[in-house]
């Protein structure tokens, strides 16, 4: 039927256009999603790219200065949920990470209004760029809404 063909073609055109948008935007506007460990292993070329990293906020590392620049350190969390359960749950894993001197850490520099959910042991999802001095300059900072019972962290890219 004539109209059915027209409809199908129109539908497919729309689908194709949206698919194009999806692929194009993923190329341009999506970030690498990495663990603290992976960020530290990045080479100079990757430093050009905007990336997103997540980790747990280290207690005692949160420093605000008077002009609104925030410094804090995040520490690597086990990426695999099974590893997390072996450690005895998220809280245990975070405690272990906090007390582990060998756990990879990353210093974050963020310029902006004091984030409302930032506190020790919160999980942070930070977007920005790694700079030559080894610190991560964040454009965007998201923090997991704090809750007080067992929770699992964001499943991170673990290879």
């Amino acid at each position: 039927m004539q109209s059915k063909t027209t409809f199908t073609i129109a539908g497919l055109l729309i689908l194709a256009a949206v698919l194009y948008l999806l692929i194009n935007s993923t190329g341009d506007a999506a970030h690498y999603y990495l663990t603290v460990e992976e960020v530290r292993r990045l080479d100079a070329a990757a430093q050009q790219r905007a990336i997103t990293v997540s980790g747990a906020v280290l207690g005692g590392s949160i420093v605000y200065d008077e002009v609104g620049v925030l410094n804090f350190t995040i520490v690597q969390l086990p990426g695999d949920p099974r590893e997390m359960e072996r450690a005895g749950g998220l809280e245990q894993a975070i405690h272990a990470a906090m007390n582990d001197p060998d756990a990879p850490t990353l210093e974050i520099v963020y310029r902006g209004s004091p984030p409302d959910m930032l506190r020790p042991e919160a999980q942070a999802i930070v977007s920005g760029r790694l700079s030559a001095d080894g610190r991560f300059y964040a454009d965007e900072l998201r923090l997991k809404c704090p809750s007080r019972y067992e929770e699992t962290p964001p499943t991170q890219a673990a290879e």
Binding site: T6, F7, T26, H31, M117, S147
Partner: protein, 654 residues
């Protein structure tokens, strides 16, 4: 004792739900009415039992029973009454229990008073609705039980997160849950329709449920947006966070379903669409629960629990798998039920088809974005995450296309006359609308090219919607005189039509707000010295004082900023920062000055040692109040359409 009763109530509810589903099924098999009525009674009782369970938990909150783990985690003695009540749904277990209760209540209403056209489907719907309730109760009982006691009662509770102490946050979760449970009804009836081969003629009977879902989800989303704007202090209202998306996805499908139901009422087919949409809407509800309550998808507000995630994932797989199998088995019934209308693309039916297609591609886009890390890891071995920019780029053109369709569709009548009508009446309206808004934009010095395209679409859609709203009224007034009673008659008999156009008007207003805030952002960090006026963003700001207040559980730093526009003093704003040393958390509360065309938004960032200089983030949010006005208008339109009452003359004249 009461808590133990609560626990028993859960077990009892589970058994009852399974019985209700079984009895309903048995009544179909044996054609024995008594089993059907017994199943009905069981369904009603289920709502009562779960309601009792919720009441018990609420009682524990109100009487400060901190030996209940959930109460200790979310309440404190000094919390005001209304916050103690809303703490019920502040955490994982309580919110899931509340959701389960609403699900049971919804099942009871749907089974007790099924829509007339769908009465034959009610027994099967009862089976599925009770199975859904059983699922929720099982999940709560095994994985997320609020009725757990601590070994020793702590003297005091941990209190409610300061961020949640906001009216928006009180009503946002219940609104969303009402929306979610309402979508289970069309789903259950869809499965029932497929099983009994009665695929035509009943979707529109379920319109009240779909509209309720649309209204509740819309209200919940808007409340969440307003909360984010008021409280979170980043000047925005929507971050494309996976949890936000979890509420948006079912809402988009509900919108599509509403439009599909209109088509089905007008005998224009779309049967298969509506059946699929009903299943998709419910499936997305389960997906949303999975996304927010498991750690699998990051988000700012996930409750997070890996065990819970697998429950919802299993439910999702069973739901989709079962539905697909059912569609395949009954494909002959589905095909024969569809009306074959021959219509060109440029017609009412054609534009509805395009609208539904776009709404579904939007849904798919948002879904892909939420799952992008998992998808990209699967396809490319590398994890990518979708930024807000990604979502804007992917969804922006789709929203724009929808806006265009909103302008064109009312102008198109039935197929034969569409082109003629468009040429004669449509074009002048579209052009006038487009020109008017673009000229206004230029006059206001808003010249960003993308925004001009947006404003053109806004103008076209706005002009057409206004014409439709006013046109009917004009004809009635012309025929019967300019009287209030005429207006009232009009509203009463064309409720659905006027409700729909009011919603469209709301969308147009919201579009203005989105264009203004997204395409003309202004945000600047400014250091203000005491008593020295500074020019920022068209305002003159003077830092006057910084007050330090000490409260039992927090300390507040409250700045007084005097704002001048031109020569006149506009306002004194008080952005503040609260420190909660017990939790180790800071909460910034922005100060707002509302204006017709923009909001001035101040956030306190820091100050120097002797408090002579403070740092503020100053944002000017252009046209943002159109967003809130538009949202309120949308809800008003939905409410108008939802209002029960006589609907005369449902066919579209003209």
């Amino acid at each position: 004792m009461l808590i133990e009763i609560g626990d028993s109530l859960l077990m009892l509810s589970l058994m009852l739900a399974v019985y209700a589903a079984g009895a309903a099924g048995w009544s179909i098999h044996t054609r024995d009415e008594r089993w059907g009525r017994s199943a009905q009674n069981a369904t009603y009782t289920l709502a009562g039992l779960l309601g009792l369970a919720v009441a018990i938990l609420l009682g524990a909150f109100l009487s400060n029973h901190f030996e209940v783990r959930y109460v200790a985690q979310h309440s404190a003695s000094d919390l005001p009454l209304y916050l103690k009540m809303s703490a019920l749904w502040a955490g994982q277990e309580g919110s899931l229990l509340f959701w389960g209760f609403l699900q049971a209540l919804c099942a009871a209403i749907a089974v007790g008073r099924p829509p007339r056209q769908a009465r034959a489907l009610a027994p099967w719907a009862a089976v599925f609705l009770n199975l859904i309730t059983a699922f929720f109760v099982t999940t709560i009982y095994l994985q997320s039980n609020p009725f757990i006691l601590l070994a020793a009662a702590p003297p005091e509770g941990q209190g409610l997160n300061p961020l949640l102490r906001h009216p928006g946050m009180i009503f946002h979760p219940p609104a969303l849950y009402v929306g979610f449970v309402s979508l289970s009804v069309p789903f259950a009836f869809t499965l029932a329709a497929l099983l009994t081969r009665r695929v035509a003629g009943w979707t529109s009977a379920l319109r009240p449920w779909i509209l309720l879902a649309w209204l509740s989800l819309g209200a919940g989303l808007l409340l969440g947006m307003r909360w984010a704007y008021d409280v979170l202090g980043w000047g925005g209202y929507w971050g494309w966070d996976p949890v936000e998306n979890a509420g948006l996805l079912p809402w988009l499908v509900a919108t599509a379903l509403l439009h599909g139901a209109v088509m089905q009422t007008e005998q224009q087919g779309f049967h298969l669409w509506n059946l699929l949409l009903a299943v998709a809407a419910f499936a997305l509800t389960l997906f949303g629960a999975f996304a927010t309550r498991s750690g699998a998808i990051e988000s700012v507000h996930a409750f997070a629990d890996s065990g819970l995630g697998s429950y919802f994932l299993t439910a999702l797989v069973v739901t989709l798998g079962g539905a697909i199998i059912l569609f395949i088995i009954r494909r002959d019934a589905v095909r024969e039920g569809a009306a074959r209308e021959d219509a060109p693309l440029l017609s009412r039916q054609g534009s509805f088809f395009l609208t539904l297609t776009l709404l579904m591609t939007l849904t798919a886009s948002v879904l892909v974005g939420s799952l992008l890390p998992a998808l990209t890891e699967l396809l490319f071995g590398r994890r990518f995450v979708a930024t807000a920019d990604w979502f804007d780029r992917v969804t922006g053109p789709q929203w724009a296309a929808l806006l265009l369709l909103m302008g064109l569709c009312p102008l198109l009548g039935q197929a034969a006359t569409a082109l003629r009508r468009l040429r004669r009446r449509g074009w002048p309206l579209l052009v006038a609308g487009a020109l008017a808004t673009v000229l206004i934009a230029f006059a206001l010095d808003l010249r960003h090219p993308v925004s001009l395209v947006g404003f053109t679409l806004v103008g076209m859609a706005g002009a057409v919607t206004l014409a439709e709203l006013a046109g009917g009224a004009y004809h009635s007034f012309r025929a019967h005189g300019l009287r209030f009673t005429v207006l009232r008659q009009l509203l009463r008999h064309r409720r659905r039509l006027y409700g729909g156009y009011l919603v469209h008007a709301g969308v147009v207003l919201m579009a203005i707000g989105v264009i203004g805030t997204r395409l003309y952002p202004f945000s600047q960090d400014v250091a203000l010295t005491q008593d020295r006026p500074t020019q920022v963003g068209g305002y003159t700001l003077t830092y006057e004082t910084l007050r330090h207040e000490i409260w039992p559980d927090h300390e507040t730093f409250r700045a007084a900023i005097s704002v001048t526009r031109g020569q006149a003093h506009a306002a004194t704003l008080h952005p503040r920062l609260e420190r909660y040393p017990g939790i180790g958390q800071n909460v910034t509360t922005p100060a707002l000055r509302y204006g017709v065309n923009e909001d001035l938004y101040l956030v306190l960032m820091g100050w120097n040692a002797d408090q002579s200089v403070i740092t503020l983030r100053v944002a000017v949010n252009l046209l943002i109040n159109f967003l809130w006005l538009g949202g309120a208008t949308m809800l008003a339109g939905g409410l108008l359409a939802f209002w029960p009452g006589a609907e005369k003359n449902m066919a579209m004249d003209q």
